[in-house]
């Protein structure tokens, strides 16, 4: 294989993985921007969804890709309840209290899964797990292509929701002026709960997508949470495009990093670029 093809292959792989990161990062950014809470347990919602679609596959034979809507609804519901039951009660609490709350949530969920299911690494094999299509010598995994398609559709739907509906417009208003939003008759606690649910639900879609080509285990969320954080810091949370672009950049950098260094060093390139950008523009690439 020529080196151009290898390089192009790395970029395509990076774009496909980056789009999945984007979905997870958008979810984190929504919660961060609208509810103004840093959700350390973000990767745990992803993990829960991944376990859900894993068990649905193992016990009921439901294809992981078919279980995406259910994974979304489940994590949406859990996110909604977390906001309603916990975060809405500590809205006026100091920043640190809120951080500890989501951190405690992370510990409870992750360790709960350890206790219930052990540290085993699970995975599923479907007929399409290894399937690829070939484009000018570049191989594209069918599941990842499918995942990217789902991500694009979900992002477009989210964009339409945020710009074309009362509730979506209310969410954007809330992130600009909370008191004024209340004066419009917006029940902010309810809208917060829906926003948290949506953010968690996006991570859930990501988790269900991962089930068919990644590993399912209690700590699987860790790298995804980290990447989502970096994406949001890079791209900001003012709109959904910023963190998405940040995430895709990370996917491509990882992939190129794995190519020019060794796969285990792939994240080094990400952090070098991350630090460089923060030094040049501490407020992120797209900050207004």
């Amino acid at each position: 294989m020529s080196s151009e093809i290898i390089f192009a292959q790395a970029i395509v792989d990076g774009l496909l993985m980056g789009s999945l990161y984007a979905l997870i990062a958008i979810g984190l950014a929504m919660i961060w921007g609208i509810v103004e809470i840093i959700n350390f347990a973000h990767g745990e919602f992803l993990m829960i969804a991944s376990f859900l679609s894993y068990f649905l596959f193992i016990y009921l034979g439901i294809d992981p890709l078919i279980s995406i809507p259910l994974a979304f609804l489940t994590t949406f519901g859990l996110g909604y309840l977390v906001q309603k039951g916990i975060i809405n009660r500590i809205l006026e609490a100091p920043f640190l209290t809120q951080i500890f709350a989501t951190f405690a949530l992370l510990l409870i969920i992750r360790n709960g899964f350890f206790v219930a299911f052990g540290p085993d690494i699970r995975s599923v094999t479907t007929w399409y797990s290894e399937a690829t299509i070939d484009l000018y010598g570049i191989k594209m995994s069918i599941v990842k292509l499918f995942a990217t398609t789902i991500v694009i559709i979900a992002t477009i739907l989210l964009h339409l929701f945020l710009t074309r509906t009362y509730l979506g417009t209310a969410m954007r208003a809330l992130s600009q002026d909370k008191t004024a939003a209340q004066l419009m008759g917006i029940d902010i606690k309810k809208v917060y709960a829906i926003a948290f649910g949506l953010g968690a639900g996006l991570a859930g879609i990501g988790g269900a997508l991962l089930t068919s080509f990644y590993y399912v285990f209690p700590e699987m969320g860790v790298p995804f949470t980290l990447i989502a954080f970096i994406s949001v810091v890079l791209g900001g949370f003012g709109n959904i495009l910023g963190p998405a672009i940040g995430a895709v950049i990370i996917g491509v950098l990882q992939s190129i990093g794995a190519l020019i260094m060794t796969p285990s060093m792939k994240d080094i390139l990400v952090y070098i670029v991350f630090l460089a950008i923060l030094l040049i523009k501490p407020t992120g690439i797209f900050s207004r």
Partner: protein
């Protein structure tokens, strides 16, 4: 009576801001709250709209106690607050700001009709409909703040310092609109205003606040004859 407030005490933390405030707002009237900086006008309006909770006292709207209701529940009752400093959503368009004005259930159904009607009252906003609210001039922003409140179909409108930061000519235009709201839209208005001359000009009844207490009250036409009021508040 539209609004009846009885011995209201409001605190910020441990500091008492409002003391034993009692006042009434008559249906279809413009009632003004005047008083110097820090006298508690904004605090009172925020308490009526549910942003702040009183320590004690009652606020009855159409004979219904509203202390303890959430701000969005108070909006549903038809009490709409145009806050000090306009508080528009600067990164949303004029259209989106107006849309949010009609967020409550009843107003939402009539969004289209109301929008059309309100844009004929404020034609300048029609030209700016798809512009970000933050890019409007001060006068335009105040018009938008009032228009946004009208989209909610208010029955009682609380307006805080509509003249703030505006040129005298623009202040006149804003107050022309406020008078129209009372006369042709039959909206009851409670107005907080430092510009006492303007407040006396448009209102039917005036309350004077000083350090969180009502120190004087009366019909605008009568109170304006008062020597002390003229000297302290009107500078004549």
């Amino acid at each position: 009576m539209s609004l009846v407030i009885n011995s209201l005490d409001v605190y910020y933390g441990k500091v008492q801001i409002l003391r034993e405030i009692s006042l009434k707002v008559d249906h279809g009237s413009i009632t003004a709250l005047i008083g110097p900086n820090g006298s508690g006008k904004t605090t009172l309006l925020k308490t009526i709209s549910g942003i702040l909770r009183p320590m004690k006292g009652s606020i009855k709207y159409e004979d219904k106690e509203i202390v303890g209701l959430q701000p969005h529940e108070i909006v549903e009752l038809g009490i709409i607050h145009v806050p000090e400093g306009r508080r528009l959503f600067p990164y949303l368009t004029v259209y989106e700001n107006l849309l949010l004005g009609s967020y409550n259930k009843k107003a939402r159904e009539r969004f289209k009709d109301n929008l059309e009607r309100i844009l004929t009252i404020f034609p300048i906003l029609k030209e700016r409909l798809h512009q970000k609210a933050g890019t409007l001039s001060g006068g335009e922003q105040q018009m938008l703040a009032i228009a946004r409140a009208l989209m909610a179909e208010p029955r009682l409108l609380l307006i805080d310092e509509p003249s703030l930061g505006l040129a005298p000519k623009i202040i006149d235009t804003v107050y022309e609109h406020i008078k129209t709201l009372k006369e042709s839209e039959k909206i009851t208005i409670l107005l907080a205003e430092q510009n006492a001359a303007k407040a006396f000009e448009v209102s039917d009844y005036v309350y004077v606040l000083e350090t969180g207490r009502v120190v004087r009250e009366g019909k605008a036409v009568e109170l304006i004859q008062d020597e002390e009021i003229r000297k302290v508040y009107l500078g004549i």
